[in-house]
């Protein structure tokens, strides 16, 4: 119950902050603050859920050391890479980024199930800010995953230079952002987490397997080659493999342009999808 001193404070409190008028600059500031708030929430929740964070490192480690280790040094067929473990290393980093990024969409679906999404949607920030805030939150998570895996390079006897590390970081940033934007776009109209899981399996697994993360793009059957060219992740794999192992299949500019284009397209779709109906 309210006691006396609090009541007088409640009155004072009202008088203390006069209403400000909103200019468009103020709108922008409010949106930036909103983006920061949503990002901060994701980071806090991620930190609070450290067990899951650590658990999520296990899958890529298994792929890298068990699958990669098992196939290492075996000549599978004509044209296979000499060191398969090192060859799939960029692919494993991207797998981790792709899965984590798509998972950001799941977080939105959970927010919707929990009801918290409504709290965000009635707040005085634009839907664009909501979408960007969620993308930055999810992409930060992906980036942590990617950096952790990159730190395992010395175990594969790969020693990237500072320049290579910086370039890898840049690639991880753009791939994380564009793949998270995809995850958010997919989540915009989904109301159940089961539904989203099914959708993920239909979209995320093909994206991963078609990207050439686990096999070289040379000597592919034509249908596989065509599908892989339509896969945005293909260009992320190519970029990382180029930076780390020195062999680009496409060109660095083409790779970067396609990833950025895909990211911006997904951002646009997400913002559109999140408008009121």
């Amino acid at each position: 119950m309210i006691n006396e001193p609090d009541q007088s404070r409640l009155i004072l409190d009202l008088l203390s902050e006069p209403e400000q008028s909103m200019t468009s600059y103020a709108h922008l500031r409010r949106d930036l603050r909103g983006i920061y708030t949503l990002w901060l929430r994701d980071v806090i929740r991620l930190w609070r859920d450290r067990v899951r964070l650590i658990g999520s490192f296990i899958q890529p480690i298994l792929f890298l050391f068990v699958l990669g280790g098992g196939l290492k040094g075996r000549v599978l067929s004509q044209g296979s890479p000499s060191n398969y473990q090192v060859f799939i290393f960029p692919g494993i980093i991207l797998m981790s980024i792709l899965f984590t990024s798509s998972f950001a969409g799941m977080a939105v679906v959970w927010d919707r199930e929990m009801g918290f999404l409504k709290e965000v949607l009635v707040a005085p920030i634009s839907r664009t800010a909501v979408v960007i805030g969620k993308i930055l939150g999810g992409a930060s998570n992906s980036l942590i995953q990617g950096l952790f895996l990159l730190a395992l390079a010395p175990f594969l006897k790969v020693f990237p230079s500072v320049g290579q590390i910086l370039m890898m970081f840049g690639v991880m940033v753009i791939v994380s952002l564009s793949q998270t934007a995809m995850g958010i776009a997919l989540s915009a109209r989904m109301s159940s987490s089961q539904g989203f899981m099914v959708l993920m399996n239909f979209i995320v697994l093909p994206i991963y397997f078609l990207s050439g993360a686990m096999f070289p793009l040379t000597h592919l059957p034509i249908w596989l080659s065509v599908l892989s060219q339509m896969d945005p992740l293909t260009y992320g794999v190519d970029l990382m493999r180029g930076i780390l192992l020195g062999t680009f299949y496409y060109s660095i500019y083409r790779d970067i342009l396609i990833i950025m284009f895909f990211g911006i397209l997904m951002l646009y779709i997400s913002v559109r999808q999140f408008q009121r109906d």
Partner: protein, 313 residues
């Protein structure tokens, strides 16, 4: 404060169109406590979702503070506090963090957030649990936290969608206490939906909603007066039922009963009756019970919608 004109909302679900809100209009004055009363599915939540800028109307328009919700939702959101029907807290964050994030989203300064959340968490008796994760809270505690959070940014308009649903009587009373306190302090406008009639009774004005339409709108006392001088309840031995009904029909033209079981009849006092005593004498001397009660909003609702089922479940 609020002007709603010919507001309509249609949902398309599985190829079928549902008209959830069917051309309703109403106005709420600044500082007024206005209540939307109606059974489940009446369209209350849909109306509120449009007012709080979550949904867009199919047609019609809504002005809040003279601003059209479709044109400038930003400006309106800053001045509205919403307490949703379903929970909307982040249960992985603590009570204090939920308050703080709300303050951040509404652009409050750190000092202001700290001061306000302390003040409001104390008001709803959650200060000693401020660092507990919300998932450990009971339903009543969550509701109280949501109310504190809704008041955090000093809204001019507080919208509450069935705020006390599913709560025990003590929590319900507490919540009413907080809302009235907050209202006394700074004359907030309140828009509340409920299907508890007692709650609507405390409002300045009530709009009764049914099947997407507003079927009556007035002060609670006027709505009750519209039913006439009172509601008669007769207790009758089942075998004498027909005899009494016949008398009522021939002498007073009473055809409809707001409640009818095999041994009771309930109906508005006929207008031709001058006093209850005279009325009683004119009935066959078979009654085992007779009473005249003042009408409740429940009776108003039943007489308006012809629904035998009380909405106060």
């Amino acid at each position: 404060m609020i002007q709603v004109n010919e507001l309509k909302k249609e949902y398309i679900q599985k190829g079928q169109m549902i008209t959830a809100v069917n051309s309703i209009s109403f106005e709420v004055e600044k500082g007024e406590f206005f209540s939307l009363l109606g059974p489940n599915g009446a369209g209350k939540t849909t109306t509120i979702s449009i007012l709080s800028t979550i949904l867009s109307p199919t047609s019609g328009n809504v002005l809040i503070n003279k601003i059209n919700v479709e044109e400038d939702p930003h400006k309106i959101r800053q001045h509205i506090g919403v307490i949703f029907q379903d929970p909307s807290l982040d249960d992985r964050l603590s009570a204090q963090e939920n308050m703080d994030f709300h303050g951040r989203l509404y652009g409050m300064s750190p000092a202001d957030r700290l001061r306000r959340s302390e003040l409001l968490l104390k008001m709803v008796d959650l200060w000693d649990r401020k660092n507990s994760l919300v998932r450990t809270f009971s339903g009543g505690m969550k509701r109280r936290l949501e109310i504190a959070r809704g008041l955090m940014h000093r809204p001019l308009l507080l919208i509450l969608d069935e705020p006390t649903i599913g709560l025990d009587p003590k929590s319900r009373r507490d919540i009413w206490h907080y809302i009235h306190e907050a209202r006394k302090e700074w004359g907030m406008t309140i828009l509340l939906t409920t299907h508890y009639l007692e709650e609507a009774d405390g409002a300045d004005r009530v709009a009764i909603m049914n099947k997407g339409k507003i079927v009556a709108m007035d002060t609670p006392s006027k709505l009750k007066q519209s039913l006439g001088p009172g509601l008669v309840t007769l207790e009758i031995p089942p075998d004498k039922m027909d005899q009494v009904k016949n008398t009522l029909l021939t002498f007073y033209d009473v055809r409809h009963f707001s409640l009818e079981t095999e041994s009771t009849l309930k109906f508005p006092m006929p207008s031709s009756v001058s006093s209850p005593a005279v009325f009683l004498q004119s009935l066959p001397p078979v009654l085992t019970g007779f009473s005249v009660g003042t009408p409740t909003l429940d009776d108003v609702f039943i007489s308006l919608t012809g629904d035998q089922q009380s909405i106060n479940i």
